[in-house]
């Protein structure tokens, strides 16, 4: 199918964008940064086109659903939201240094979607429970949340890299100089986590409304539900610790990494547990 062909090209485009971001950081020349941004943008546009084609194809096949319904499609959409959110952020902050940490995550997710065994890239018909308008809003909000948490995680990693380079003052290659200041990373981590928290809240609520219509109960302690609640609690804890207890810097960076672990488990690890949300059955 043409859409999967485009999507496998997008994987390489994101890899190229990552390499260009890396060139910029190592060589310290904004020229590479501009190329990296353009490349990422081309990747995002190509990916959007592929998603639209896939959507249309599903209608042509008589199934007619948004490309958000199986594991493959969710991975692709996850990568899309990460790049989308990142480019928005780059545009707003006028700072390209974050790209070298965020874009590789998107690339890895795309690569995983294409090469991991057992992931079918076919367009599958929807079982009756999934035939709902809530599917789109639920998946959209959840993945916007996941993407914001991913960005926060990348910022947390950057924070530690920056901290390490600050401890070692003798040598400061362009790479470390170009990283944003610790205080700015701290602020950005907080903002990304807040954004993710709001989207996750909406994702849980739209999911509950849907469950209320489909399964007869807005909450049934399904492992995926429970893990999304755990993730929500962890980020709630983090926001309180910062706003009221004044946690900053290292502690916040640790929390973004820990929180991202919970996000990953909610998304992937839960498949190891019996669940109504299981992608693999």
């Amino acid at each position: 199918m043409i859409n999967t062909t485009i999507l496998s090209w997008v994987t390489f485009i994101y890899f190229a964008a990552f390499v260009f971001y890396l060139f910029r950081m190592v060589l310290g020349r904004e020229f590479w940064g501009k190329i990296a941004t353009s490349t990422a943008l081309i990747g995002l546009i190509a990916q959007s086109v592929a998603l639209v084609i896939r959507w249309k194809t599903s209608y042509d096949l008589g199934m007619g659903h948004a490309p958000l319904s199986n594991f493959y499609e969710s991975l692709i959409f996850f990568a899309w939201t990460i790049v989308f959110l990142y480019l928005l952020m780059e545009q707003r902050l006028k700072n390209r240094s974050i790209g070298v940490f965020v874009i590789p995550v998107a690339f890895l997710i795309m690569a995983y979607a294409s090469i991991a065994p057992g992931i079918s890239n076919r367009i599958d018909p929807l079982i009756p429970a999934l035939q709902s308008n809530w599917l789109t809003s639920h998946v959209l909000t959840c993945f916007m949340g996941y993407a914001a948490f991913t960005v926060a995680f990348a910022l947390g990693i950057m924070f530690f890299v920056k901290k390490m380079s600050a401890a070692d003052k003798n040598k400061s290659p362009a790479f470390f100089r170009l990283l944003p200041a610790e205080s700015m990373l701290d602020e950005l981590m907080y903002q990304s986590a807040t954004l993710g928290f709001v989207f996750l809240t909406m994702g849980i609520i739209t999911g509950s409304v849907w469950a209320h219509y489909a399964w007869g109960s807005y909450w049934s302690w399904d492992p995926k539900e429970t893990w999304s609640l755990i993730t929500w609690l962890i980020y709630a804890l983090m926001l309180h610790a910062r706003n009221v207890r004044g946690w900053r810097g290292k502690r916040m960076a640790l929390m973004t990494i820990f929180g991202f672990g919970c996000v990953l488990f909610t998304y992937l690890g839960v498949n190891l547990l019996p669940s109504l949300h299981s992608y693999m059955n």
């Binding site: 018909p125 429970t226 309180h240």
Partner: protein
Amino acid sequence: MSKNKSGLWSFFSSVQLAIVLLSLIAFFALIGTIVPQREAAVELAGRISPGLFSFLQKMQLFDLYHSIWFFLLLGLLSVNLLICSLDRFPLAWRRFRSQAEPQKADAVKDLPAENTFQSALNIQKVADAAANLLKKRYHNVAQANEENSVFLSAQKGRFSFFGVYIVHLSILVLIAGAIIGSVFGTEGHINITEGETAGSFNLRSNNQSLPLPFSVRCDKFIVELYENGAPKNFQSDLTFIKDDKVVHSGKLRVNHPIEVEGFRFYQSSYGVSPEGKATLTLLRDGGRRDVINVAKGYAFDLPGKEGTFQVLRVEENLMKMGPAIKVSVRSNKGEVTFWVFQQLDKIKEANPGITEQIPMFNPSLFRPYTFTLLGLEEKYYTGLQVTRDPGTLVVGAAAVLLILGLLLMLFSYPRQVWVKIDRQQDKALISVGGRSHRNKAGLERELQHLLAEIKDRLENSK
């Protein structure tokens, strides 16, 4: 109140407690995803010692989310949330009430150079232009004129002080709604075969039967399949009857529940009913051939009075070999039981000699008869989820409040701004400053924007 806070009050108003409780709830939730819960726990019973199992059961480890421990944590969190909010609300209220006044213009003292600029216009004109702009962008604009300077003040986003309290309130309402649901709500399941009527359902918690205040008849059940065999759509035509009167009737589809007298019905599953009929032929060696319809439990005497024939089981797909029925024939020589397959020819083709090796698969086991299964008349049952949860509306209200509160916090922040205009000979020096408790970086950007806009206006009015 602030003077004599008791120890209990300060314990419950601490955010450390909130952090500990959030961690504990997260931890409990995690345990519940690892230890099998409710129905799934039965399987564990066979693998651990009965003593340990019953101990863990007493500790409510197998129904963690409805256990006393979990309710205790939620109760503590609720009290913590309430006391925390009550403790801090007066400060938020004071901040909400505090006006940006021109006289309190500390914020425009010692400003960095980028927050000031000079204009050739006279001070009054500058003040008018700035006041107009502030009125457009902000609320509560006030002005104070002094001999050589004009002070302007304004504010915005005051209501977002309440965002966090709305969020906290929503969590309390949510917990209340969940408790209402778990105390007054019920949840269960019924299977109704096409054409039949049910007047009760099985509770999920203990599998006991609970009567409904009306009866439900399944008039028809339809399932559509995709080419790959996955269900595309399934639905039941239901009629709800009370005192011999139809109170409601309609199609029940997945994702589209029907509510009758506070009970919500969901189309959750379906299956082939064990009450299906089978069509059978009897061939007597060199004699007559009979076609009969049978069902499970059905018995009759064979035409030549050789014995009594009975249907023991009806299977739609036995061991992936297609439809089959298990029958027994009792005669004065004893009892023989065997399976009669519909697709016997196919089975024989795939496994030559099977009827000789496994006599139970031989439909001619009772001489002089040979039985053939012509087909099963499939009858579906519809699986309905039944719930009654009076807390749902409360939880829904909580969800709306929660999103409202979060949006108020995310998209708005309280800030006060001041513009000071000083006379410098025949020119005016404009300084812009502000104050925000929550978003200093955002305020800085906004002030630069405001500054540029004032500059722009002054240049255009020249």
